[in-house]
Symmetry: C3
Subunit: 329 residues, 3 copies
């Protein structure tokens, strides 16, 4: 492990980064996959997010007159409300549909046509859709920026930005950290996007899951050349090592054998007892909603950050929106 760091960690030259960023603009850019963003772009969004935090209390007029269309073809509470809150805090406004049933979609209109209509009503679109393919298609035919608000089991790039932002704000840095992704790594879209994004950083990434819910091979392949990846089923062993424990839900319906599920569920449930050997400043994150994979007794422990994450999420989305609208460079 020491050797790993000796090879990979070097003094990251922030001056070079700043210079590169001068030539970089997110204005008008689509955000479909976290893979579309460079490390510099992600860092820039996070730097702007810091300046947004005070505006969450005071409000502002940065996006006055701007309209965000929220098109959710799959259910959502937190993502939709988070974007709406971000727009409201910046003086902009939101329109949208959250019920495909009550819209023209029911009359058989194609997604392309819906997008070409809605682009006349707004300055950017957040689109949640079962298929990433569809979201990419929407971005291609739209003349305004399209942001992926969650595509099936595949991607959720703005969740990843807020995950990274939470790490950065809570730990002061991401480089050099030991980070564990825990739970259902096969079907969870947030961990797929997050693993790819963490490959931009100098981290040790622990992938901790029951075998049938392991991270897909192609993602392992994509990231393992760039960061140190350790796959394991053993939670107990990794708890003392990690700085960040990123927990996801294990869903019953993924198991054919109910006994397997019950055994796994018990083993992956976080309790105060289970994290007794954790580093003092280890933090626990979770994309939410949480069912019972984290015991409520942890909520008030100094490790819990999953609700704070929601707060960082608004700042991160305020930053992303301001940059995409071009109001902030």
């Amino acid at each position: 492990m020491n050797e790993f760091w000796r090879v990979k960690s070097f003094n990251y030259d922030s001056i070079v980064v700043m210079e590169e960023m001068c030539h970089m603009s997110l204005k008008g850019k689509d955000i479909i996959s976290i893979r579309d963003l460079t490390r510099n772009e992600i860092e820039h969004i996070m730097e702007v997010a810091v300046t947004m935090e005070p505006l969450m209390k005071t409000g502002s007029k940065i996006l006055g007159g701007k309209i965000l269309a929220c098109l959710f073809f799959e259910p959502s509470t937190r993502t939709r409300l988070s974007f709406e809150s971000a727009m409201d805090r910046l003086g902009g406004s939101c329109i949208g549909i959250s019920e495909p049933r009550t819209s023209s979609i029911e009359k058989g209109e194609s997604l392309e046509d819906t997008i070409r209509v809605v682009e006349n009503y707004a300055d950017a679109i957040v689109l949640r859709h079962p298929s990433e393919e569809a979201i990419r298609l929407a971005a291609e035919c739209a003349s305004i920026p399209v942001i992926n608000g969650g595509s099936g089991a595949e991607e959720h790039p703005t969740q990843t930005i807020l995950d990274l932002y939470t790490m950065k704000r809570e730990m002061g840095k991401i480089d050099g950290l030991n980070i564990a992704l825990l739970g259902d790594l096969k079907y969870g879209r947030t961990v797929h996007s997050l693993a790819c994004a963490l490959a931009h950083y100098y981290v040790n990434l622990y992938l901790v899951s029951p075998e049938p819910l392991a991270m897909p091979r192609q993602i392992i392949k994509e990231i393992s050349g760039r960061i140190h990846v350790i796959e394991t089923c053993d939670i107990e062993e990794i708890i003392p090592k990690v700085n960040i424990l990123y927990v996801t839900r294990i869903q019953k319906e993924r198991f054919t054998n109910l006994n397997d599920y019950e055994r796994v569920k018990g083993a992956y449930r976080l309790t105060l007892q289970a994290i007794i050997n954790a580093k003092k400043d280890m933090i626990i994150m979770h994309p939410l909603p949480r069912i019972d994979e984290i015991s409520p007794e942890i909520d008030d422990s100094p490790h819990a950050r999953y609700f704070k994450e929601v707060w960082y999420g608004v700042a991160a989305r305020m930053a992303l929106l301001s940059l995409i609208f071009g109001t902030i460079e």
Copy 2:
């Protein structure tokens, strides 16, 4: 009756009230039950409401940058729209869910978790929920104020504030009035909250209902030590006596015997003929929606105030919100 007034009515010392109010602040306060508010607090909200009325025409920026989250786990039109209108008139904005079906609630998230998420998106929460217990729990775990937007058959405190405000504005005062609550006093949440609030005032309270729909005993017990309460089934007798007739709907499904329902329904239906002996300035109120318990012929009579009540409701909610947000002292 005269004796009653000789004992109870005295010159209410407004100077003392004003002094007490200087030490009183509603900033950050939860509004779960009307019982949580003192007479002074209610009076203060009503005083502020008067100053809000002109802003309903002109708009204002008093709550610019503030966000109200409206979480309605039971259907609502008027309460939700009234809060949204109040926020919009004050320059604030609203986010929310009105369809639990399309939200994370469906995924099995607890109410506490939902609240701890939403508190990051907004500055206050209006919550409608079948159980008052749940709303109180939500208020306890929230770091921002929680307002009860109607809890099952129990409470609807902001409706009560607007009911009182309508009385005050239309009659010039509440002390000294004869007020009748009419209809279903057993299951109607608005009359429960209202009866408790009226116990702060020097009123004669007539409770007029069919016997099976009488006011619950514990509420009678709670208020009868403080104000004069007269229970009766006889509408005709009380009509000439009262200054205010507060009508509620009698629902068919409350009766096991359909004949009983039909008889009661006929007897409790207000028509112009039924109120022919009313005082000239008697006013009729109703929390709405009205089905057929008030004949439409009354709508244009000088007695009708049930639609004006809706208008006062916006001013009352504007006042409450401004006070809770601390923008007005």
Copy 3:
């Protein structure tokens, strides 16, 4: 045809129009049917709409503090979003219901009562309802302006205003044009309103439909005394003649014989091949949603205007709202 123009077309005296308009105000006016608007009023809305177009980019505060209530008792995406976008661009806000299921309507409240409640929350109402009768009734009992947002198969006046505005902006004028309405002219509410409105102009109106879907006789009767109306089933013949082709959808469920439907559907489907003999500057319009009556290959041709129409729609609604609210004269 030449003779027709010799008789009807004369130099329209714009000075007279301007003078008439000085005495005309739309402030507080209900917009139930396009028949309620004079040519002068329509022209005035369109003139104001031109001044609104730049505000679609910059935003404005023209309707700051104003609230529009959107009550949709039938599904809608584009009309609702278009009005919301228009209000947001002008600094106003929207409240509303799009799901009658979750509202008091379910509790049996009458439409009149709903309107008398909602008028206290807003400054104007957009109402979509199956029956024009109901919308007219709503307008009568409301103290604030009511705008028809689409009434069953009958009327959709704001769609007509935007249709006319698209024609005016794209062709520079409406007088003197050859305009074809194509498709289902029997059940389509947009073509009924549009035909009536075009009777204010000096146009040749081609009504092109399969026989069972011909324009209702009473509309023909209403307009044929004022403009030249030509009914035909032959698309091919009219394509080279017209300046504007206004296409509507032909719905399967209108046919008892499926073979009839298939034959008609094929004949009325627009392709690049089908419009090969069109005038070079002929434009194709469509109220949307489009299913397959216009081949997507036309979307990128210089003839397509159906998505641009959506854009003009926001400007037209901004103008209408500003005039009705009295913020612009």
